[in-house]
C-alpha cells in the first residue's frame, strides 16, 4: 500500500470518529443541551471532514460540507435559533454527510442524490444572505492549518531556552541535529552552543554515537508547540528541555549553563521542567473559555494551531492498531493458555503435594494467563455506540417511511463487544428495528385510542450478562397478534389447522422462512428477507434470538451473543475414542437414552419422541465413518441439537467430558474443509479436537434430516 493510500485510509477512519462526534452532538442538542460547546463540537466535526475532503479532492463532499457548515455556523454564532425543525434538517444533513463519506470511500468523488435538495433546504432555512456572505469568504484551504509558522512577526518576540541532548542512537535513525537547528534558525534569531563535556577521548570515541549536547537560545514569535514540532521526529531519541523565558527578563547574553555545565545542569533542568509544566497548564486552561469568541471570526480557517497541538497532547488518548497485530496477539495468548493447561496436567501427573511451590506457582501462572487472555480479548472489544448511532438513523428513516412518530432510546451504549461481532450484527439489527417500527408499532391513531403516547418508542439495550452480550430490541407497540400469526401459518401450510401451539410457539413461527406477518408486504421491511434470515445470521455468530411479547404492551427481541468469535463455548465429548467439541449454542439438552422414548423406523433409523414431536437420531461416530452405528444405546448419551435453520436432531455420543471455552483453529490453512467439521481446537493435553458443525451434519445426513417431519420439528 502506498503512502497516499495510507493517508486516505486514515482520513476515512478519522471521518468515522468525526461523524460519531457529530451525531453525538445532535443527540445532546435534541435532549435540550443548548450550550455553545456542543454546537462547536458539531461544527468542528463537519469542518474537519470538509478540510480533509478538500485535501483529497472530494469536491462533492466539500461542497455539501461547506453549506452544512455555513448553516451550523449561523446557529453557533447565535444568528439563528436552533428549533426542532432545523435540528431535524441538520440530522438529515448529517446522514447525508455520512453517505457522502461512504461514497467517497468506496467510489471516489461521486455526487449523491440527496445533496442538492438538502442544500436547497439549508439555504432556505438560514437565508440566502448568509450563504452568499459565507461563499464570498475564501474557501477552506488545508494549508491554512499551518498558518502560524509564517505568520507576520507582529506578535511579541518570545525567548526560548532549549537544551537538546541526543541519545547515542540518534544518528542511527537518520536524524541530524544540524538539520534541526537550521529549521529552528528559520523561525527566528538562534544561537547554538555545544557542550562537549561528554565527548570521550579520541581513542574511545564511537563515531556513530552522538555524545554532544546543545544549548540553544531562540527569539521567535512562534509558540512552544511549534518549536516542539521541529523536534517531532527525534522524540524518544533525545532529551529535550524547552522553556520560555519570561518575556520581560532580558535574555542572558550567555546561557548560564554553558560555562559550568557539570554543576549547573541539574538545577537548571529542574527549573526548566517546572516552567514547561506551567506553560503547558496555562495554555490548556486558556483555550477553552476563548472557544466561542475565537472561532466566531474564523469561518474558513481552523482554530489556531497551538490549540490543535494542545488537543493532541491530551493524555489517555487512543492509538490505531492494525487488526492483524491484535489477532496475532490473541493467537499467541491462546497458545499460552493451552501450554499452561498442558503443564498443569503433567504436573498433576507427578503427584506433587498440593501446596508445593510448583503447584502454587502454576496456579498463579494460570491466573495470570487468564488475565492476559481477557485483556487481549478486550482490545478487540469495541463499544456498541457507533452501531447504535447507525440504528438511530434507521429509526428516523423507517419512521418517516411509515408515517409513524418514533423515538429511539438506547441503553448501555458503552457495552463492549468484539469488533467482528458488531460488524456482522448491523444487518440483522437493522432488519429487526425496521420490523419493530413497521410491524410492531401501531399507527398514531391506534396508539391514541389505546391511551398511549402517539409517539412510539423503540428501545435498544446492550448489556453483559454471564459472559455473553445481550442486545434487546423492544417496541412499545401492540404486541404480536397471535390469532393472526396462527391463521397465517395455517394458510401458508406451516402448521396444521388442528395443531395446538403455546403462545411462545406461535411467536416463534415468525422465524420460519417465508413468513411475513403483515397482510400486504410493505416496502419497508417486506423485501423477501424475513426474520428467518435474522435468526440464521445470529446463529452464525454463535448467538440465539428469542421473542417476548405482551399484547398491548409491546414486543422484545432478545439476542444473546458470545463476547468474541475467537473462542467458543463448547461441550467436550468422546465418541469412538475421539475427543470432539460440540458448540454449546446448538445444544438444547442432554438425554439418557434409557429414560427417553426411542422408536425404530425402517432399517435401523432411530427417532426420539420428544415434546415437540419426533426427532431423528444420528450417531456421530457413524456419521464420521469412525464406527458402525451402535446396536444398543444404553451406555451412550444423546445431545438434542437445534440448528440455526431450526432443525432438530439428536446426536449419539459416548460420553460428555467437560464444558469449556475453546480457541478456534482453522483446519483449512494446512488441510481442507471437512464435512461436518466447523474447525479444530487444541485441548489441555495438547491434542487437537474437531469442533463439529451441526448444520452440516443434518444436511449431509440425507433423507433423515430432509424428511417431511422437519417443518413440524422446526416450530
Amino acid at each position: 500500500m502506498s503512502g497516499a493510500d495510507d493517508f486516505r485510509e486514515s482520513f476515512f477512519e478519522e471521518c468515522e470518529e468525526l461523524l460519531e462526534a457529530m451525531h453525538d452532538g445532535f443527540d445532546q442538542l435534541s435532549e435540550g443541551a443548548d450550550d455553545v460547546e456542543t454546537m462547536n463540537a458539531v461544527f468542528r466535526a463537519v469542518h474537519s471532514i470538509k478540510g480533509g475532503a478538500g485535501a483529497f479532492g472530494f469536491s462533492e463532499l466539500v461542497a455539501f460540507a461547506h453549506d452544512f457548515e455555513t448553516a451550523l455556523d449561523q446557529v453557533r454564532s447565535g444568528k439563528r435559533e436552533a428549533d426542532e425543525e432545523l435540528l431535524e434538517l441538520f440530522r438529515q444533513c448529517g446522514d447525508n454527510l455520512s453517505d457522502l463519506v461512504a461514497l467517497a470511500r468506496d467510489h471516489g468523488d461521486t455526487p449523491c442524490d440527496g445533496s442538492g435538495a438538502l442544500r436547497d433546504r439549508l439555504t432556505e432555512a438560514i437565508g440566502a444572505d448568509a450563504v452568499a456572505k459565507a461563499q464570498a469568504e475564501p474557501d477552506f484551504e488545508p494549508v491554512l492549518l499551518d498558518l502560524g509558522i509564517d505568520a507576520p512577526a507582529a506578535a511579541a518576540e518570545r525567548h526560548y531556552l532549549i537544551r537538546f541532548e541526543a541519545s547515542p542512537g540518534l544518528f542511527a535513525t537518520g536524524n541530524d541535529p544540524v538539520a534541526l537547528f537550521r529549521t529552528l534558525a528559520k523561525l527566528g534569531d538562534l544561537r547554538v552552543t555545544a557542550d562537549l563535556a561528554a565527548v570521550p577521548p579520541l581513542a574511545s570515541l564511537d563515531p556513530v554515537a552522538c555524545a554532544i549536547s546543545w544549548q540553544l537560545s531562540l527569539e521567535t514569535a512562534d509558540s512552544e508547540a511549534q518549536l516542539r514540532e521541529v523536534f517531532e521526529f527525534v522524540e524518544g531519541d533525545c532529551v529535550l528541555d524547552l522553556a520560555e523565558q519570561a518575556s520581560g527578563a532580558a535574555a542572558p547574553e550567555e546561557p548560564v549553563a554553558l560555562d559550568a555545565p557539570a554543576e549547573m545542569t541539574l538545577p537548571s533542568l529542574a527549573s526548566l521542567i517546572s516552567d514547561a509544566d506551567e506553560a503547558g497548564a496555562d495554555s490548556g486552561a486558556a483555550e477553552s473559555p476563548e472557544d466561542g469568541a475565537e472561532v466566531d471570526d474564523t469561518a474558513g480557517a481552523d482554530p489556531n494551531p497551538a490549540r490543535k497541538a494542545a488537543e493532541q497532547a491530551k493524555p489517555a488518548g487512543t492509538i490505531r492498531v492494525h487488526l492483524d497485530k491484535i489477532d496475532k496477539l490473541i493467537n499467541l495468548v491462546g497458545e499460552l493458555v493451552i501450554k499452561e493447561a498442558m503443564l498443569s496436567q503433567s504436573v498433576a501427573g507427578l503427584a506433587q503435594a498440593k501446596d508445593s511451590d510448583v503447584t502454587v506457582g502454576l496456579e498463579s501462572l494460570k491466573q495470570l494467563a487468564g488475565e492476559i487472555q481477557e485483556g487481549v480479548m478486550a482490545i478487540r472489544a469495541q463499544p456498541v455506540k457507533p452501531m447504535f448511532q447507525r440504528m438511530a438513523r434507521i429509526v428516523r428513516e423507517a419512521g418517516s417511511a411509515t408515517g409513524k412518530r418514533v423515538r429511539l432510546v438506547t441503553i448501555g451504549e458503552d457495552t463492549e463487544v468484539d469488533k467482528t461481532v458488531i460488524e456482522r450484527l448491523v444487518d440483522p439489527l437493522t432488519h429487526m428495528i425496521r420490523n419493530a417500527i413497521d410491524h410492531g408499532l401501531e399507527s398514531g391513531e391506534a396508539r391514541a385510542a389505546a391511551g398511549k403516547s402517539p409517539e412510539g418508542t423503540v428501545t435498544l439495550t446492550a448489556a453483559h450478562r454471564s459472559g455473553r452480550v445481550m442486545i434487546d430490541v423492544a417496541d412499545d407497540g401492540g404486541g404480536i397478534n397471535r390469532e393472526k400469526v396462527r391463521a397465517l401459518a395455517i394458510e401458508r401450510g406451516l402448521i396444521g389447522e388442528s395443531d395446538t401451539l403455546s403462545s411462545a410457539e406461535i411467536d416463534n413461527l415468525l422465524f420460519l422462512p417465508g413468513f411475513s406477518s403483515k397482510d400486504e408486504v410493505s416496502e419497508l421491511s417486506g423485501r423477501g428477507v424475513g426474520l428467518d434470515v435474522v435468526r440464521s445470521e445470529i446463529h452464525n455468530l454463535g448467538g440465539r434470538v428469542s421473542i417476548q411479547s405482551d399484547p398491548g404492551e409491546g414486543t422484545t427481541f432478545s439476542i444473546s451473543l458470545p463476547l468474541t468469535l475467537a473462542v467458543l463455548e463448547g461441550m467436550v465429548i468422546r465418541v469412538a475414542d475421539q475427543t470432539m467439541v460440540v458448540p454449546i449454542s446448538a445444544i438444547q439438552e442432554t438425554l439418557q437414552p434409557k429414560t427417553a422414548t426411542i422408536d425404530v423406523i425402517g432399517a435401523g433409523t432411530r427417532v426420539l419422541q420428544n415434546r415437540s414431536g419426533l426427532v431423528p437420531i444420528i450417531d456421530l461416530g457413524g456419521f464420521f465413518g469412525f464406527r458402525a452405528p451402535p446396536d444398543r444405546l444404553d451406555d451412550q448419551v444423546l445431545l438434542l441439537i437445534e440448528t440455526y435453520s431450526n432443525q432438530r436432531f439428536a446426536l449419539i455420543v459416548d460420553e460428555i467430558q467437560d464444558q469449556r471455552q475453546v480457541v478456534i483453529k482453522s483446519l483449512e490453512t494446512n488441510y481442507q474443509q471437512v464435512g461436518g467439521v466447523a474447525a479444530a481446537t487444541i485441548l489441555g493435553d495438547g491434542r487437537i479436537a474437531l469442533i463439529i458443525d451441526p448444520d452440516r451434519i443434518i444436511r449431509d445426513s440425507g433423507p433423515i434430516g430432509a424428511s417431511d417431519m422437519s417443518f413440524q420439528l422446526a416450530v
Binding site: N331, G334, E335, I338, Q578, T579, F623, F624, G625, F626, K665, S666, L667, E668, T669, N670, Y671, Q672, Q673, V674, G675, G676, V677, A680, I682, G686, R687, I688, A689, L690
Partner: protein, 156 residues
C-alpha cells in the same frame, strides 16, 4: 523455480534429507524441511484419504500428517515411538510426512541424480523424480509436489 535458483547458486550442489520408508531410501530437498519430530498421536479426520493419518498440534497450528508408506502404495505404517514426522513446508501449507527413520543429510551434486531405471514399480515411480547412488545405496528423490498436490486441496 526457487529450487533451480538454489541449485545454481550452489554450483549445482544441494543438500537433501534422506530417510527410510518401508525399507526403501528416499530423500528430498532440505530446504523444504522445517523440522523433524518424533511420532505423536494424531487426531483422526473423518472421510480423509487413507494415507492422511490425522492432524497434530504443531505449536498451535493444525498440521495434517501423511503416511508416506501408504501414499507410495507400500502398505500402511503402524506408527510407534520410533517413527518420525518430517514437517515440510510446501507453498503456503505445512504438512507432516510420516517416515520410519531419518538416516542422513547429504550434499549431492545435480549430476549425481540419475534417471529412474525402468524396472521400478509404477506405483512408486510417479512420486519420484530421480535416483541417487550414495555409497552403494540407491536413494529415491521424492517429488513433493506429487505427494502433496498444492493445487486443488483434495490431496488425491
Amino acid at each position: 523455480m526457487m529450487k533451480d535458483a538454489i541449485l545454481e547458486n550452489r554450483k549445482s550442489y544441494c543438500e537433501v534429507v534422506a530417510f527410510r520408508v518401508s525399507d526403501q531410501d528416499f530423500c528430498f530437498d532440505l530446504t523444504s524441511v522445517r523440522e523433524i519430530r518424533g511420532w505423536t498421536e494424531t487426531t483422526m479426520l473423518p472421510h480423509a484419504q487413507p494415507y492422511v493419518k490425522g492432524v497434530i498440534n504443531l505449536r498451535g497450528s493444525v498440521v495434517p500428517v501423511v503416511d508416506l508408506s501408504e501414499r507410495l502404495g507400500l502398505g500402511a505404517t503402524e506408527p510407534g515411538p520410533r517413527n518420525v514426522i518430517i514437517i515440510t513446508v510446501l507453498g503456503q501449507r505445512t504438512v507432516g510426512l510420516l517416515a520410519d527413520v531419518v538416516s542422513d543429510i547429504l550434499t549431492v551434486s545435480e549430476t549425481d541424480i540419475q534417471p529412474i531405471p525402468d524396472i521400478i514399480d509404477d506405483g512408486v515411480r510417479r512420486f519420484i523424480s530421480g535416483v541417487l547412488l550414495v555409497e552403494g545405496r540407491m536413494i529415491r528423490k521424492m517429488d513433493l509436489e506429487m505427494i502433496i498436490p498444492t493445487d486443488g486441496r483434495s490431496a488425491g
